[in-house]
Structure formats: structure tokens, C-alpha cells
Amino acid sequence: MDDEAHILAALRRALRREGYRILTAASPSEALALLETEAVDAILSDHKMPGMSGLELLAAAARRRPAAARLLITGWPDAIPGERLAALGIRALIPKPWDDAELKRALRDALAR
């Protein structure tokens, strides 16, 4: 999930050949709605979004789909205190601009656990 359409497209492109079924959402509310109906294995979210921050979204997601792996992708990695990541059980923090190889590896590792 990311509020910028081009980023969603680029993420989708990067993960296309990994064999995942990819769902995208352009806003936190869209994402939460999706989580109601779809059983996802991993959630990759942007942090700075209007309305709700990525951390808040992932916290809400944890309640709906506790089994799903949670990953945060953000342009401001230093703004996020490590304790909050741990408390929310976020498996990986990926900085923007991201490296495709790093993204794929992080997702694979998160799903393996």
C-alpha cells in the first residue's frame, strides 16, 4: 500500500516474477477494507500517508490478520524508533528509494518465518 500510484506500479513490477498474488491499495481505508475480505500473508505499507500513518495501519492490520507478516517501506527510516517496530512485530523496514533485490529478499525472509 502506498498513496502514490507510480510507486504501487513500480512495487508491483518488481515483485511480479516472485510468484505472489499482488493486491494494491492507495489508501489506508482501502487497505483495511481489503484485509476484511482477503486472507493475505504479507502487508507492505508506506509510512507517511494522509489520514493514518503506516505504523497505525500495520497496528490495525495486526488485529485483523495477526498471521500476516508486516513490512514498512519509507523515505524516513530514521524517524521511526526501533522499539515501535519491535512492539508492532514489524519484520522489516525498507528505505525508499528501495533496492529491488533487497525488497525481494526482505519479503521472502518475512514470509519464511
Partner: protein, 539 residues
């Protein structure tokens, strides 16, 4: 000589026996004679007169006049008909300056005596006036010097103190009294003398009359003090006066205000940089990712193309006529489009764009690091990285005329405020660059900046050397003075050297500058391993 005024006090015509006025008229036209008959009239006119003649015939009135004039007014000469010694003694005791008795040559004696008395009186008056003026000036002078808030010292031709004012003793109590005859080095703190180059300042004043004022600093007595120092030549004997005025609270306040302004400027520039970095970050995210993806796709398409060409070749060689034609058309198209070149170039273009996007990524990272809000906490930082990231930011400005050489030694982590130190490095780098630019404009060629780091036993040394025009100010330390005029740092992201000096000092370190033997300058920053002496949050 201005007109002479004589007051004659004599009895009325009835009792008059002496030809006083007639005799006085022999003094000539420049004499004004006023005749009175009693004491009161005489004393009234006496204050404006040069001489008073009293006829003894006036008796008590005459005595009154004499006592009235005693010590105050013009001299009094008594004229009398009694040529006795007693009479003369009496007149002198009464206060007369002289006594002329009636005689055959009365007409000659009286004017002569009168003239003599008048001249003596006027000379004495003039002398008294001058003395009073001198005394008044001396009092004024003493009042000024005594109350002057600055330290004033007069030095002789050998730089020994001739005199000092109370302000001097107050400012330098450790010197001890007396001051006279002692050399300047004996009396002033050594660091004050050195930092202001005071011996040289005095020498220049003696030779040329005066020199621009300087700032001298001292730590003597516990607190750091700064003085505005001036010297002027006093006289032809080689004496000079040295004035040391302490930089007052107002100056300190002005300096602090300047620093706050600079900090605010830096903060708003920081915010701008942070905002720009953020805006650039997002598009860079997908540009970067898409380029990678495009490279992959291109690989796929190339494989497809190669397979197609292979098929076309088989068809052209072994197929039916229709297939042969189609195959040859495909191969012909590939040749016409120079397909190999297209694919190679396509891949190259993608690679170069990726390089560009990498560079942007680094610049954004450096900008973010630079603008990161300082929360006042001490951080252990690797100064090589701080220096490097700062160099990277300014590199885009410098790369055309300057070669940047890095000689980094491994450095231990140092407790510091990295943001502040990066601002110092930024300033030094920009200064070095500008010095080279100026020299290159004059003499052509190119320049080199060398960044060196080294670990010492008790700290870390970072130096920025350039081969620009060097520092032409003497002593060189003056460039760190708060109000010393230097060119504006062009980029606008640097701080004044005074603020840099301050930042380094607050880290417990030292900032020094010196000219290099072959031309150019080196700025050295020393930072102690122990970190700042007392951690000032948000300082």
C-alpha cells in the same frame, strides 16, 4: 598695549595741592584718567583699572581705598606732600605699592612710577590667567583619564610604562603596582599580548602614527575577556599611548544575536533541504525501481529478438519460398534498424540512467543528513564520514576548477554534535574553494584541496588545505574575529569563521589557520577524544 585706565582719588579742588592729573597726562593719549573724590567711587571703578592713585590728603578715605584694594585690585600708588620717612612707611603699611612725594620733579617721577606699576600689574595678571588655565585643563584632563572606562597606558620609546590610568589597574589587577618604568610584557598577560600582537601594534603606532584597532583576548584571571586595542603616537620623543577597551556586554550581545540569526538561517535552510529531499525521494523511488525492471525486461526482449533472428535464419536457409522471403525480410529489418546496436545502446542508456539515479540518491541522503534536526544529544560519530558527506554536497560546485584529494586515516568514534561539525567543515571547504577560485582568476591554472584526517593520542585532527592565495591578514588569528570583514560565503550554507571557531571551542577543541610555505592556507580542527567539556544540550 590696550588703553591704560587710571583712577585718581584726590580731594576736591579746594584741598588739592598736587598736580597729579597733570603729571599723569604726560603718559600720553592712550591713558584714560578717571577722577574720584571718595573711597566708594574709587573702589567701584578700580576693578577695571590698571592703577589707582590715592592722594594722602584724603585721609581716612584714602586708607579705606588702600585696604579695599589690598591683595585684590590694581596696585595703588599714594601721592603726598609729606616727604617724611614715617609718611612713606605708613603708606606702605597701609597697602600701597609705591609712594611719590611732592618734589621738583614730581611731574616726571609720577608717570614713571605709574608706568612701572602698570606694567608689573599687567604682567602678573597675564601670568595668573595662564596659570589658572593650565590648572583648569589639568583638572579636566585628570578627570577624563581617571574616569575613562578603558585601560590607558603611556609608553616611552622603549615600551616601558610612563603612566597608566586607574582603568588600567582595574583591568589588569594581577600586574601589581607600581607600573612606572616596567616593560609592557611584564605587566600585561602573555596571551593578551600575543593574540593582539600588541608589541607590534605599539611599534607601528610609534612609526606611523596609528594603526587599525585590533582585538586581543586573554584568559588571565579566570574569565575569557576580549579587548579592543588601539595605539597612537603621542609625541616626537617616541612615546605612544595604548588604549585597551574591554568588549562590553553590548558587543557580546550583538555577537550572540548574529549567531542566533545564523543558526536560524541554517535551520530554515535545513528545513528547506529536508522538504526538497522528501519531494525528490518518492519519484526517485519508482524511477530507480523502474529502471531496474526495464533492464530486466530488455534482457527478456533481447532473448526474444535473438530467438526470432535464429528462426529467420533457419527459414531463409531451409524454408519454403514464402518462409524464405519472410525470414529474409526479418533479417533485413534487423540489419536496417541496426538491432544489435539498438539493444546494446538501450542497455547502456538504462545503465547510465541508473547511475544518475544512484547519484541523486546519495545527494538526497547527504542533504537529509545535513538538515537533520539536532536534538542536542551527543553522538559518537566517525568524522571521516561527516567530512566526506559534506565534501560530497559541495563537490558539485567545485569539480570544474578544483581537484579534491582525500587522505583519511582511520578515526575512533568521537562524541560530538555531528551537524555542527559538518557545518564547520562545509565552511572551511567553501572558503578553500573560494581562495583557489580567486587565485585562478588572477593567474589561471587549477587548484587542489587536500582533506586530511589523523588520529592523535588525545583526539582527532582534521585539516583542509588549499593552494589558493593564502591568508593576507596579520596576525592570521584575526580572521576568527566576530566582526572581521570577510567576503560573504557564496553558497550561503556556511557559517562565519567566528561561529566555526565557537563551535570547535565548545567541543573542547581548537581551530587554527596558517599559511602554507608554497602558497595557500591550511585550516586545522583539533577535537578531543573526551568530547565537549560539559555537554550543553541544544547548544
Amino acid at each position: 598695549m590696550r588703553p591704560v585706565r587710571i583712577v585718581v582719588a584726590e580731594p576736591g579742588r579746594a584741598q588739592r595741592r598736587l598736580p597729579t592729573v597733570g603729571a599723569l597726562q604726560r603718559l600720553g593719549g592712550g591713558v584714560r584718567i578717571e577722577i574720584v573724590n571718595d573711597a566708594r567711587a574709587c573702589l567701584e571703578l578700580a576693578s577695571g583699572a590698571d592703577l589707582v592713585i590715592v592722594d594722602r590728603e584724603l585721609g581716612d578715605q584714602g586708607r579705606e581705598i588702600l585696604s579695599g584694594l589690598r591683595g585684590v585690585g590694581p596696585p595703588a600708588v599714594v601721592v603726598t606732600r609729606e616727604a617724611t620717612a614715617d609718611a612713606a612707611l605708613d603708606t606702605f603699611r597701609a597697602g600701597a605699592a609705591d609712594c611719590v612725594t611732592a618734589s621738583a620733579d614730581f611731574d616726571e617721577v609720577l608717570p614713571a612710577v605709574a608706568l612701572e606699576q602698570i606694567r608689573a600689574f599687567r604682567a602678573a595678571s597675564a601670568r595668573r590667567a595662564v596659570r589658572e588655565r593650565i590648572e583648569s585643563l589639568e583638572r579636566l584632563h585628570a578627570a577624563i583619564v581617571d574616569h575613562f572606562p578603558a585601560a590607558v597606558a603611556v609608553l616611552d620609546a622603549d615600551d616601558r610604562l610612563v603612566a597608566v590610568n586607574p582603568g588600567f589597574a582595574r583591568a589588569f589587577p594581577a600586574a601589581g603596582e607600581p607600573f612606572e618604568g616596567r616593560p609592557l610584557e611584564d605587566v600585561l598577560p602573555a596571551d593578551l599580548l600575543a593574540s593582539g600582537g600588541l608589541a607590534e601594534l605599539v611599534a607601528r603606532a610609534r612609526a606611523r602614527g596609528g594603526d587599525p584597532p585590533r582585538i586581543a583576548r586573554t584568559q588571565a584571571g579566570g574569565a575569557a575577556r576580549a579587548f579592543d586595542a588601539r595605539a597612537e603616537r603621542l609625541d616626537a620623543q617616541g612615546r605612544t599611548v595604548l588604549v585597551l577597551a574591554e568588549v562590553t556586554e553590548r558587543e557580546r550581545l550583538k555577537q550572540l544575536q548574529q549567531q542566533v540569526l545564523q543558526t536560524e538561517k541554517m535551520a530554515s535552510i535545513g528545513q528547506l533541504a529536508a522538504g526538497v529531499a522528501h519531494e525528490i525521494n518518492n519519484p526517485m523511488g519508482f524511477i530507480h525501481a523502474n529502471l531496474a525492471q526495464m533492464g530486466e525486461y530488455l534482457g527478456d526482449v533481447h532473448r526474444l529478438h535473438l530467438a526470432g533472428c535464429a528462426l529467420a535464419e533457419r527459414a531463409a536457409a531451409e524454408g519454403t519460398p514464402a518462409l524464405r522471403g519472410a525470414g529474409e525480410r526479418l533479417l533485413g529489418l534487423a540489419r536496417e534498424l541496426d538491432a544489435d546496436r539498438v539493444f546494446a545502446d538501450f542497455a547502456q542508456a538504462i545503465r547510465e540512467s541508473q547511475e544518475g539515479s544512484e547519484r541523486i540518491r546519495h545527494i538526497v541522503q547527504d542533504l537529509r543528513a545535513f538538515s537533520h534536526r539536532d536534538d542536542g544529544q551527543l553522538v559518537c560519530a566517525d568524522l571521516n564520514r561527516c567530512l566526506d558527506s559534506t565534501a560530497h554536497i559541495v563537490w558539485t560546485m567545485m569539480k570544474h576548477s578544483v581537484v579534491l584529494r582525500k587522505e583519511y586515516a582511520p578515526l575512533p568514534p568521537l562524541p560530538c554534535h555531528p551537524l555542527q561539525l559538518e557545518q564547520v567543515f562545509m565552511n572551511l571547504l567553501v572558503n578553500a574553494y573560494q581562495a583557489i577560485e580567486e587565485r585562478v582568476r588572477r593567474d589561471g591554472g587549477s587548484g587542489e584541496i587536500v582533506l586530511r584526517t589523523a588520529a592523535a593520542a588525545d583526539g582527532v585532527l582534521v585539516s583542509v588545505s588549499d593552494d589558493g592565495g593564502g591568508i593576507s591578514v596579520e596576525p592570521v588569528e584575526r580572521i576568527f574575529e566576530p566582526f572581521f570583514t570577510t567576503k560573504e560565503v557564496g553558497v550561503g550554507m556556511g557559517l562565519g569563521l567566528a561561529t566555526c571557531f565557537d563551535i570547535v571551542r565548545r567541543h573542547g577543541g581548537a581551530l587554527r589557520a596558517r599559511n602554507r610555505a608554497g602558497g595557500g592556507a591550511t585550516f586545522e580542527v583539533f577535537l578531543p577524544l573526551a568530547g565537549p567539556p560539559d555537554a550543553e544540550p541544544g547548544a
